[in-house]
Every structure is written in structure tokens, then in C-alpha cells.
Symmetry: C2
Subunit: 197 residues, 2 copies
DNA sequence: GTCTATAGACAGATAGAC
DNA sequence: GTCTATCTGTCTATAGAC
């Protein structure tokens, strides 16, 4: 249940976001959304045409929020290496996984162009943002020189997404941390010690 | 439908493996399994106690197969760097994702200790196997010296798992390839050029 | 071993009263 | 805007005949 000061559509969106994160699209039913939102059947179908529309609103909201969170770390002070480290090491609810990346494993999401678009755009934006920072870093900002900025950025995003997989497999965040620290060591030049962030 | 030379239990397991890969545990119904396997309701429940038992058999089979495939690449000839490259660059049906890693996003799988175990053990084995190879490689086998073998191995596995996420988000294998090549460049010493594998 | 019948609960809505 | 009733199909089995 969500705060009473939220409107019914807002509560429905919040509930859908939470369930999509925890159970995915296929595993999330209208009934479960209604129960969590404290809204009735008729109420939900009054505000949204159905499960796909509600999911789209929820996914867009989650994608926007993730973009803002990532930008906070990437836009911060410090060298390119430090900003990438800030992004990689920021606090996360590791065992819950990535609310955006998770959706790529949902066949109904990837099959629906409309639902997949916000997911694609968000991860694409993140890769592009990191590409710029890596390019800056290889030109004297604390990253190994000579790296392909775009490929390196893809490796950074992939390590995070895959770190969630390892963590959820083991049931502990340790594997995520290991992957991230492993990558940070690889990003630094040979003569550089990974700073304690 | 599967070959008639396979026994009914084998056809059921194969069908379950395929559906688990494509739709996950939550998205896979007994009815769909029966249809794909060409087996009747009663037949399925005669051989397996229910969906969880069938899923367990399917997951074990898939995990064993993945282990064998990975071992083929990791056990091959060449330097540690080359063996890791062989693993990373081996042919994959990238857009289908990892049949084992995928299961970690399924709440019913992670909630069930029995179902999660083979997933955990397989990824754990892979990390351990790579840790040994990385350790060998940092001692003169074409990898950057001074790396934490365990953390580096985690980064390698995470990059693969996350590469699938990126590929499925964009709908193209290109992002997977970018992440893998980005990582390979990072693994090589500064003076080393990534070989064309 | 395989088949059909049956069953209670849920999925994903639509209709119409209030 | 919200509520209750209703509906068709699916989910995950169980029972018992063949």
C-alpha cells in the first residue's frame, strides 16, 4: 500500500513499478497491482486501458529515475576514472537487480516494441554517456590510454548488469562487488592503484 | 515437437528446457510443455510430480551442458589470455541470452533453494575455473600482472551475463560483442594488442 | 504409460450500477 | 471515479478409466 496523499493513478504506477521489478511483466497480474495499490478493479481500468498501458507508464517512470541516478554519479566532481568509479560503487539494492535491465529477460517486453523502447533508450543513453567519459579519461584522465571508448563503456554497463546476475545466483551482493572491483582494476593504468572509494 | 526416438520423459525435459530459456519459470506452464513435448497431461504427471520437479530436471541438464561448453573453450590450447578469449568469443545465440543466468531473474527460482542450487553451482564453478586461469595468466601468461584473480574472473563472467542484457535491450548482438571486446582489451597488458580471434 | 474428465483459483478484462 | 457482477480462458493439478 502507498501513501494516501498519492492519487490513484500514482499509486497504481508505483505498485506496478515494484511488481515489475520483483516479478517481471509476465509474473505481474492486474489483481496483484490493485491489491498493492489499494485500488479496485474498476478504478484501475478507468485510469489505464489495461496491463500493457500501466506497464508502459511504470517502465517509463523507472527508466527516467534510473537515468537521473546514474547521471548524479557520472556528473559529479573528479577525474573520469573517479566518476566511473562513483557510478560503479554507488549504493545499490544489489539483490533486487536492475529494474530496467531485468525487463530484457521478459519475452512479452522484448516482443512489444513500445515496452522495449524505454529500456533500450535508457541503456543506450548510459552507454553513450560512459563512452564520452571514457574518451575523456583515456586522454589523460586516469584511464588506460588507447582504449576503444565505446567498447569499454559497453563492458562497464555489462559488468554492472552481469554483477546483478552473479549476486542473485549466490544470494549475496559479494559477487557484484567482486566484479565491479575487478573491472575498476582493469580500467586503471598499470601504474595506478585503485583508490578506496 | 521433438524426435520420436526420444522417450517421453526426455521430450518433456527438452521442452521444459526450451521454454524455461525463452519464457522463464513463471512464464512456462505445464500445458505449454505438454504441447511442445507432444505428451498428454496424464503422461507428464506420470513421469514427474509437477512443474517444480520437471523444472529441476531441466535446469540440471542445462547447467551440465553449459559447464561442458565452457570447459571446452577454457580447456583448449593456448595461453591463459587466449583461452579466456576463446571462452568470450565462442559462438553464442546471443539474443536468446544465457539459459542459466536467465533463471536468476525468476523470483520463483531464487525463492526455491532446490531450483537455485544448480544455477549457483554452475556460475560458481565458472568463476572458480576462470580464477585459476587468470592467476596463471598474471604470472606471465599474457594477462596484466598484479590483478586480483578472483575479482577479475567475476568481471569476466559478469561481462558475458550483462552483454546478453545489452544485446536483448537493443535487439542486436552488437552490444554483446562490444562489451566482450572492451573487456579483452582491458585484460591485455598495455603493450599487448588484442589478437583477432 | 497414456487418456479424458473434473476442479478451484487466477488472468485479464467488459458492463453497468452508483 | 469507484464498485460489484460476470465472462472466457488458463494454471496446476487430481482421479480414474483404458
Amino acid at each position: 500500500m502507498y501513501s494516501d496523499v498519492m492519487s490513484t493513478p500514482e499509486r497504481l504506477i508505483s505498485a506496478t513499478r515494484d511488481l515489475l521489478w520483483q516479478r517481471g511483466y509476465v509474473g505481474t497480474s492486474p489483481k496483484a497491482i490493485q491489491r498493492l495499490a489499494g485500488a479496485g478493479q474498476g478504478s484501475m481500468y478507468h485510469h489505464f486501458s489495461g496491463k500493457p498501458a500501466l506497464a508502459l507508464a511504470a517502465i517509463r517512470r523507472t527508466a527516467d529515475e534510473m537515468r537521473g541516478t546514474a547521471e548524479s554519479a557520472l556528473d559529479g566532481p573528479g577525474t573520469p576514472y573517479e566518476r566511473i568509479a562513483a557510478y560503479l560503487l554507488r549504493e545499490r539494492d544489489v539483490l533486487r537487480g536492475c529494474p530496467v535491465g531485468r525487463l530484457t529477460m521478459d519475452p512479452e517486453v522484448t516482443a512489444d516494441e513500445t515496452l522495449r523502447a524505454p529500456v533500450d533508450e535508457t541503456l543506450d543513453w548510459l552507454r553513450g554517456r560512459l563512452t564520452g567519459i571514457v574518451a575523456e579519461g583515456t586522454a589523460g584522465g586516469g584511464l588506460r590510454p588507447g582504449l576503444d571508448a565505446s567498447a569499454t563503456a559497453a563492458a562497464v554497463v555489462a559488468t554492472v548488469q552481469g554483477g546483478y546476475v552473479l549476486a542473485r545466483a549466490t544470494g549475496s551482493p559479494a559477487a557484484f562487488d567482486a566484479a565491479v572491483h575487478g573491472l575498476l582494476a582493469l580500467l586503471a593504468p598499470d601504474d595506478h592503484r585503485t583508490p578506496e572509494v
